[in-house]
């Protein structure tokens, strides 16, 4: 394999940030230094060079809902967005609740070969919330993240058993923390906009009561706990307090909750419909601050493809979810403005740590596998298209700052200047 040179970027290395060239050879980071040359040069002047991004929260829809997305198209969207590893949520059809199903997702991901795909396993059989899934088999094939995402694990007793089981092994519960009763029938944030629209709505407390309950269970079991798609200012406070206590908890925010608030729903365009819903301006601002100061550990895309015909319906009839993989880095940069170290921490290093993903999310060093994302934080651009199978992206026509220049997966370029290589 010929050498590839990442020329003149600001490189996040194990020894700190330095302006340098990176030589990639035979899939590995061969050399970090000055004046390097090779057959293929990626100009990185003014750009950041760091570990490939890691998404702790992706929906690939395969198996079972391939009309929305599949492992190949989802992997491609990830590559364009700078990702080299993604955790696929198990709410497929069937749900990933047993070893052979998780192995299928992982192997199909490897066959596509654009990113490493790590399946998350369901907490309960069929995500039905009644009995534990085959946590043993899932663990044996390498699953470390467990979630009934799409639904909350509602039964606190059952969740406690899963936590007890996983605490002993070191797995993490990734909770879709939304109370069933408080959210029933609701399809947007309960606030001034929902009252004006007359829409059934979901109060912030719907998220907070589950999070508060679960934090008590973490205290009880000692299990690792990750709260998905934090959407409320009060949730940020709960996480801050739990971390203060030293509980093993982490939190995620989605790009759309950083970019928008419930005013986006005023036109009732279903592209803005997701769970949890876009909340108040104060909530949005608290999430931005939480990500900046590290109370919120990671950006998780909650990339949720839905076909055009499924979203081209009145608001209440539309499914929840928006695309995110291709724009998450730009959105975090535009609306939060992290420095290079914090950027790679929230989008790569922390999510890899939470998901126990090896070979990703580490500062660059010679001899490592070359999983790299090059990000130019200053370029202004406007998303106009997607490589996903679906088109439910909320950022089209929106001016963003910062763009992935190149993504290297195992030393090969998978995307360059917003274009998938294959």
């Amino acid at each position: 394999m010929s050498d590839l040179i990442l020329k003149g970027g600001s490189v996040l290395t194990a020894d700190g940030i330095t302006v340098a060239d990176v030589r990639v050879s035979d899939g590995l980071i061969a050399e970090i230094g000055a004046g390097l040359d090779g057959d293929d040069v990626v100009e990185c002047d003014g750009a950041w060079v760091g570990p490939g991004l890691v998404d702790i929260h992706t929906h690939l829809r395969e198996p079972g809902q391939e009309w929305k997305e599949d492992i190949e198209t989802g992997s491609r969207a990830a590559a364009v967005g700078g990702y080299t590893a993604i955790v696929a949520m198990p709410n497929t059809e069937p749900a990933i609740d047993a070893g052979h199903l998780a192995r299928f997702v992982k192997e199909r991901g490897a066959e596509v070969g654009l990113v490493d795909v790590y399946p998350a396993g369901a907490v309960t059989k069929g995500r039905a919330g009644a009995e534990l899934a085959h946590l043993d088999e899932l663990w044996a094939v390498g699953v470390r993240v467990f979630s009934d995402d799409g639904d909350v694990v509602e039964d606190a007793g059952l969740l406690r058993r899963a936590m007890d089981y996983l605490a002993a092994r070191g797995g993490v519960i990734s909770q879709h923390a939304v109370d069933v009763g408080l959210s029933r029938g609701g399809s947007m944030h309960e606030g001034s906009v929902s009252s004006r629209l007359g829409m059934h709505a979901i109060p912030s407390a719907a998220d907070d009561v589950i999070l508060a309950r679960d934090l008590r269970l973490v205290e009880m079991t000692g299990a690792r706990y990750h709260v998905q798609h934090l959407s409320t200012a009060s949730g940020v406070e709960l996480i801050a307090a739990a971390k203060e206590k030293g509980l093993p908890v982490t939190a995620e925010v989605t790009p759309h909750h950083l970019a928008f608030d419930h005013h986006a729903v005023e036109g009732t365009d279903p592209v803005y419909k997701m769970m949890p819903p876009l909340r108040s301006t104060e909530d949005r601002d608290a999430l931005r601050r939480g990500l900046a100061d590290g109370v919120i550990d990671v950006v998780g895309t909650d990339h949720a493809p839905h076909a055009a015909h499924e979203k081209e319906v009145p608001w209440e009839h539309a499914p929840n979810g928006v695309l995110g993989l291709e724009w998450a880095a730009a959105v975090a940069n535009t609306f939060v403005g992290l420095d290079q170290e914090a950027f790679y921490d929230r989008l790569s290093i922390a999510p890899a740590r939470i998901g126990q993903i090896v070979g990703h999310g580490v500062a660059l060093a010679e001899g490592q596998v070359a999983n790299i994302a090059v990000f130019d934080p200053s370029v202004e651009w406007t998303p106009e298209s997607t490589v996903s199978k679906s088109e439910n992206g909320p950022y089209f026509g929106l001016s963003l700052r910062g763009r992935i220049v190149a993504t290297l997966f195992g030393g090969s370029i998978t995307a360059r200047h917003g274009e998938a290589v294959r």
């Binding site: 004006r196 007359g198 829409m199 709505a201 009732t268 009145p314 209440e316």
Partner: protein, 304 residues
Amino acid sequence: MNHFLSIEDLTREDLSGLLDDADEFVEVLHRPIPKVPALRGKTVATMFFEPSTRTKMSFEKAAKALSADTMSFSPGTSSLSKGESLKDTVLTVKAMGTDAMVVRHKATGAPWRIAEWIEQPVLNAGDGAHQHPTQALLDSLTIRQHFGTLDGLEIAIVGDIRHSRVARSDVQAFTLLGANVTMVAPRTLLPVHTEGFDAAVSEDLDDVLETFDVVYVLRVQTERGGGSVFPSLAEYTDRYGITKKRFARLKPEAIVMHPGPMNRGVEIEGAVADDPRALILDQVFNGVAVRMAVLFRLLGGENE
């Protein structure tokens, strides 16, 4: 005006102008032959995805009084029950040839979605608990006919405001025309956030009853299952029902209105509904006139 979707899209002048036109159509409707040829050759499709009798009939009568042809769609007997999407249903009716679509849908914003799919004017005949702008027009017209103006009037809207598109459109129309509105309801039937409403709020009807020129009574949606939002219908009637006793306490010139259909004995006592100061049937009559005004505004231009 390309579509007629929400009172929020109107200025005070727009609204007054439509009411002025409606006054003229009231005169037309009182003629021996209550019909004008204004929209001859035009077709109006009524697309009621949620059951409705009065609004649908009222629109059809309005279209016919303007000499337009009408076609109607009802979900129970349509291909919607075979799984056809809203978009395909709308495009199918458009392809048959229609000059306007009157849309009622239980989902919020459905008429806005349809307005993205077709070029023809869309008239919102009620979406979710969001907007019902022609109802607000007919209510405004009824009040204006009676008092000459809405400016400075004290209007109470009593009942299930939280789930009412009538209330949302009425608050906006009445205040746009200069009235002061008070929303009166138990907390479970008020919007959770009332700060976006240009209206006062009261949970105690008896406390404020004597101050109003107009008491607008909303239907209690008994099909919602009274138990889930308030403990019992009897308690509701006791605290918020417009009984004969409460009616007697109103200002002598005050009027009572109701958008229908009424639950006699629940939100309004039968004797009050039948009193000459209850203008409920005037509202129904005026509904035809205001819908003529809106249809004429949207479709009449080319004939002039």
